[in-house]
């Protein structure tokens, strides 16, 4: 059975991610899918959610999605805008962020992330942008949510470089390194919702998006996928969720085209 035609896998991913956010969350937001998910949450069920972009804007409520983390819209609608060292010291390192939202070029089954290089660090096949805020977002946020579209290139048995630490080799690897935050607790792809196994910390499929099969998930993933005992079906986007997301995207496109 195919995905119903009325929404795309990417829309489902964004909406599923938005549902995971609560009204009292304080989110450190990256650009792209995380930004859309956070703003849909704000426009839907979490009007008081605090969105923080690493440019220093705290409590933003942009009318359109920012092109980058430093858009003027973020500053104009923020409660306050602070210097970047303060952002990383008081707000991230200070433990004030409940959810750090990360994307990934490569991810492994333990939520370790690579956004640095494909190949060897010193002689890379492909040089990627690097970590930016991610290495500390991954360890200082109380929890980490990850979103990415599934592919064998993106979801791999072994990542080429540990840009951001997830659960390492699994189990209590975080605690062994003295890291007392929870790390990746949620992975939302265009096909499924994954949560770490309580003991091994391996990401396990807990919910398939409507119409998605187990085979589809396995075919687009580089490791042998584990499924939870009672895999659920992700509720499809409601009409309101879908309209809200599409309105936001349309406003965003119009605004950036007009710039």
């Amino acid at each position: 059975m195919m995905s119903r035609p009325e929404f795309t896998p990417n829309e489902m991913m964004t909406i599923a991610a938005s549902r995971a956010l609560k009204n009292d969350d304080v989110c450190f937001v990256g650009i792209g899918a995380p930004s859309a998910a956070c703003n849909i949450a704000r426009l839907m069920h979490a009007p008081d959610i605090t969105l923080i972009y690493e440019s220093g804007t705290i409590g933003t409520a942009p009318d359109v999605l920012p092109l980058s983390i430093g858009d003027g819209e973020l500053c104009d609608t923020a409660l306050t805008t602070v210097p970047v060292p303060e952002m990383f010291r008081y707000w991230l390192q200070g433990g004030r962020i409940t959810i750090g939202f990360l994307g990934a070029a490569q991810i492994d089954k333990y939520g370790n992330i690579n956004t640095t290089v494909i190949g060897d660090y010193d002689c890379p096949k492909t040089r990627l942008p690097g970590g930016g805020g991610a290495p500390e977002i991954a360890t200082s946020s109380q929890e980490v949510y990850i979103t990415l579209a599934q592919s064998k290139r993106g979801m791999v048995e072994k990542i080429d470089f540990y840009t951001s630490f997830g659960h390492g080799d699994g189990g209590d690897h975080r605690q062994k390194l003295g890291i007392d935050t929870k790390g990746p607790t949620l992975l939302i792809t265009d096909l499924a919702i994954w949560k770490p196994d309580p003991v091994t910390k391996e990401f396990t499929v807990v919910s398939l998006h409507p119409g998605v099969t187990r085979d589809q998930v396995q075919e687009t993933c580089g490791w042998s996928v584990k499924f939870a005992d009672g895999v659920e079906e992700t509720p499809p986007p409601t009409d309101l969720e879908l309209a809200t997301l599409r309105d936001l995207k349309a406003r965003t496109e119009a605004a950036h085209k007009g710039a």
């Binding site: 220093g56 980058s68 492909t126 690097g130 991954a138």
Partner: protein, 245 residues
């Protein structure tokens, strides 16, 4: 002590071959005009420093100005890849580029430590992160009270820092507002700071007392360059223009 001079003079008299230099800005207030002037003047062997090197750094690398790059995120956020940087790192073109790579938290703390006159920054970072393996300028120290392992990186003290700001007053005091980024720390960490501004006003006497002001004695030279951050924007003055690259 700030002088008001043309941009070409400010660049010529503050930057030199082999210098470490940062052109800092965070999506808005990027000192594009100063960077382009540096390309025109054809400097060599620069150590380029910046948290998020974007298209102007890509141009400088492509034109062969850079010997080394110190950075934490190499990309045009929301706009595109850095193709000249990739060519330099992957293929050594136009020549081999040495890189010193950090996280944003490390760079921000390193500028802060530079502004604070310290030799190093201490923070909770790089836990489980592989950059600590490939960058010898990442070390760990122990908290003398709790025994916790904390990351340490050397303070950033660039020879020259360029920023773009909204306003200077006639004495040479500089106002930065909106997304203030890392610019204040970068200027205070620099041996010499050069600021391009949109405009010069008589004085700042009506400003709120807690705004970000760089006193004139922290700046070497000021050049009046309206639109000097284009294609990035200047908060409250110009809007962003999506660059066509």
């Amino acid at each position: 002590m700030a002088r008001f001079v043309p941009l070409s003079q400010a660049v010529a008299e503050n930057l030199g071959n082999g210098d470490s230099v940062a052109f800092e800005g965070f999506t808005h207030l990027i000192p594009t005009a100063a960077a382009h002037e540096s390309i025109r003047q054809g400097f060599r062997d620069l150590t380029l420093i910046r948290m998020t090197p974007d298209v102007v750094y890509d141009q400088m690398i492509g034109m062969g100005l850079a010997r080394k790059l110190v950075f934490s995120y190499a990309g045009n956020p929301g706009v595109g890849l850095l193709r000249r940087l990739r060519d330099a790192v992957e293929n050594g073109f136009p020549h081999k580029l040495e890189i010193e790579e950090h996280s944003h938290a490390a760079m921000a703390n390193a500028y802060e430590a530079g502004a604070a006159g310290l030799p190093c920054a201490v923070f909770r970072g790089y836990r489980g992160a592989e950059l600590a393996r490939v960058n010898p300028n990442i070390k760990f120290i122990e908290c003398p009270f709790t025994g916790e392992s904390l990351a340490a990186v050397p303070a950033l003290r660039p020879d020259v820092v360029f920023i773009h700001a909204q306003k200077a007053d006639r004495k040479g005091n500089v106002l930065v507002e909106g997304i203030v980024g890392i610019q204040k720390e970068a200027v205070l960490a620099a041996k010499r700071a050069v600021v391009s501004v949109e405009e010069v006003v008589d004085d700042f006497s009506d400003l709120h007392p807690n705004l970000t002001i760089l006193p004139h004695w922290t700046v070497a030279d000021i050049a009046v360059v309206p639109g000097g951050a284009h294609p990035s924007y200047t908060h409250a003055i110009t809007r962003v223009t999506t660059p066509n690259i």
